[in-house]
């Protein structure tokens, strides 16, 4: 062990030790009680990790400096700009129309997440079905609803009444149990829920499928071998383990859905963005109201992210 490493260390260590020379001999004596510290040992003392200093990192200081300049610029801009109209932002941040729009956004996100995930779960199970026609249907579903842009879907479902004026529930090509005028059923709200849920469903299906198939085969074999009923094997062994894999992409999916709800203003729904637009078309305070919307979107995503990390911790117990 007389490589170049130790030798080069030895060359630098004595210099650094100048100030702590009193501690030097005491330390080198410590490992061997009973063996008196001889001058020879002290002189040729091996390097001691405790004497090391943190690496110098000039790049780190540069990065901090750049960040400080950027932050100062932002603060200066916010304080100096007379177009930002922060007082208008403050005035409308908690104004009733804005809060109503916020509620609509939240409700749409929650409903479309729940329905989209439920639909996705059904489509996923259909894809894994042993019945071929069921598998084909699921594959077609995923292909169609993943291809059509969400904006197009919203417009399409909103105009469904033109294509299918009467919605009826009954036996195909047989008697009907009830008929509804499509114009009554398809409101902006139902069109938004249908469009966003359908748009969400193929992504949920694929996320759930990848989660389920990530559970190691050995886990399922162990459950099978114990004679666990199929239902328990799925709900108590497979699904909880899949959830750990499902949560991160599902979280991103919910966040994109939340942002996707901002499209519903094209079918005359007053969501968060719609509320901001209604105000600024009256007052022409466009930028301050967009900032109001931005701030609320940031808050909503922060809340979602917090919930997501909590769930992820909850489901990664044991890993």
């Amino acid at each position: 062990m007389t490589g170049p490493g130790p030798r080069s260390l030895r060359a630098t260590v004595p210099g650094r030790r100048g100030a702590t020379s009193a501690a030097g001999p005491a330390r080198s004596a410590a490992p061997g009680p009973g063996s008196a510290p001889s001058p020879a040992v002290t002189a040729a003392a091996a390097p001691d990790a405790r004497d090391s200093r943190p690496e110098r990192r000039p790049l780190l200081w540069l990065a901090w400096a750049v960040l400080a300049v950027l932050a100062a610029q932002l603060v200066a801009f916010v304080l100096r700009s007379d177009r930002l109209e922060l007082e208008v932002v403050g005035e409308y941040l908690f104004a009733e129309p804005v809060l109503d729009g916020l509620l609509t956004t939240v409700v749409l996100t929650v409903v479309a997440t729940v329905l989209g995930t439920a639909l996705g779960a059904v489509v996923c199970l259909a894809r894994l079905s042993s019945l071929a026609p069921v598998r084909y249907l699921a594959t077609a579903w995923i292909a169609v609803f993943r291809s059509v842009p969400p904006l197009v879907q919203l417009l399409f479902w909103f105009n469904l009444a033109y294509l299918v004026p009467v919605l009826s529930l009954g036996i195909p090509f047989g008697p009907s149990f009830g008929d509804w005028d499509a114009n009554d059923v398809i409101t902006p709200y139902t069109a938004a829920v249908i469009g966003l849920s359908l748009y969400n469903s193929p992504y949920s299906a694929e996320i759930i499928r990848s989660g389920l198939s990530s559970v190691p085969r050995g886990q399922l074999e162990a459950a099978t071998s114990l004679g666990l009923p199929a239902r328990d094997t799925f709900f108590r062994i497979r699904l909880p383990q899949a959830t750990r894999i499902i949560l991160p992409p599902m979280g991103s999916q919910v966040i994109s859905l939340l942002k996707g709800t901002s499209l519903v203003s094209v079918i005359s729904m007053t969501d968060l963005l719609g509320a901001a637009r209604e105000v600024y078309t009256r007052t022409f305070e466009v930028v301050p109201l967009l900032i109001v919307a931005i701030l609320w979107y940031i808050v909503l995503v922060a809340v979602l992210t917090t919930g997501q990390s909590w769930l992820e911790r909850r489901f990664s117990r044991g890993y």
Partner: protein, 272 residues
């Protein structure tokens, strides 16, 4: 002995029907004949150790017995009951629905080479989950028995740990406790120590030895020939999907009759 957490079967009469009877068992994997004409009887309380080169069909045999694979030929009976099939009223053989094979699997315990403990459940829960869900044992009773079984394998203090926090040897001992919690008629081991660091093999073999001493009926696939010598009532040597030779350990190890077994034993003692 009544309070013993691990079942102690009463020694039956010498001519009692075997716990397990396999006749002419065959299994094909996409053209590969993994098992061919395998006959095997295992009597109550008997410890059968299965040895043989890699790929000889040892795993396939225990997996077929546990109904994890469906056999293509022959039959397997547990306590005289046909496994995986039923004979319908017309006398036609039909595969059992999964619900029924699940019920049959509950009477056999399987220990895998890779432990396969449920990663998201605590050690104790790994042991009591199946008795509660599959056998309908009341939860407090199942927990109590899980605690006793974990004590028995020396892991009472790890009950609340997760499998990932345990060493391989500890995980495998939990896996044995988990299988025993179902009070199986027959325990199956598929190379239970092959995934372990050498210094951890002993603790697992120790637990298996104590099961054998309590006259648990066991089929053990292993490369631990010393264990086979000490614990086996009978050693079965398999090669190329068939049982080539079997008998008491003295005979199989001391006077191997076939060249294939001689070669296997020779290679084994040459390369540890």
């Amino acid at each position: 002995m009544a309070t013993d957490p691990i079942r102690t079967p009463a020694a039956g009469p010498a001519d009692a029907p075997p716990v397990l009877r396999a006749r002419g068992v065959g299994k094909v994997f996409g053209g590969v004949q993994a098992l061919q004409g395998v006959d095997l009887d295992v009597a109550e309380g008997e410890v059968v150790v299965v040895i043989g080169p890699s790929g000889s069909g040892k795993s396939t045999l225990v997996r077929c017995i546990d109904q994890l694979e469906q056999i293509d030929a022959g039959s397997i009976e547990l306590d005289g009951e046909l496994l995986g099939f039923r004979v319908d009223r017309g006398g036609v053989l039909r595969r059992l629905p999964t619900r029924r094979t699940a019920a049959q699997r509950r009477r056999m315990g399987m220990v895998f080479q890779s432990f396969n403990l449920f990663a998201h459940l605590t050690v104790a829960r790994n042991v009591w989950e199946a008795p509660v869900r599959a056998l309908g044992v009341p939860a407090p009773e199942a927990r109590e028995r899980a605690r006793e079984l974990l004590e028995r394998v020396g892991l009472g203090h790890k009950a609340d740990a997760y499998p990932s926090q345990l060493s391989g040897g500890q995980q495998q001992r939990v896996a044995i406790a988990r299988a025993m919690a179902m009070r199986p008629r027959l325990m199956l081991f598929d190379e239970p120590t092959s995934a372990l660091d050498p210094e951890l093999v002993g603790e697992v073999l120790g637990v298996m030895k104590s099961l054998a001493q309590e006259r648990m009926t066991m089929i053990v696939v292993t490369h631990e020939l010393q264990f086979a010598r000490e614990v086996a009532d009978r050693v079965v040597f398999m090669d190329a999907g068939t049982v080539v030779e079997q008998g008491p350990p003295d005979q199989v190890f001391g006077r191997p009759a076939t060249e294939r077994l001689q070669t296997f034993l020779h290679r084994f003692s040459a390369a540890p």
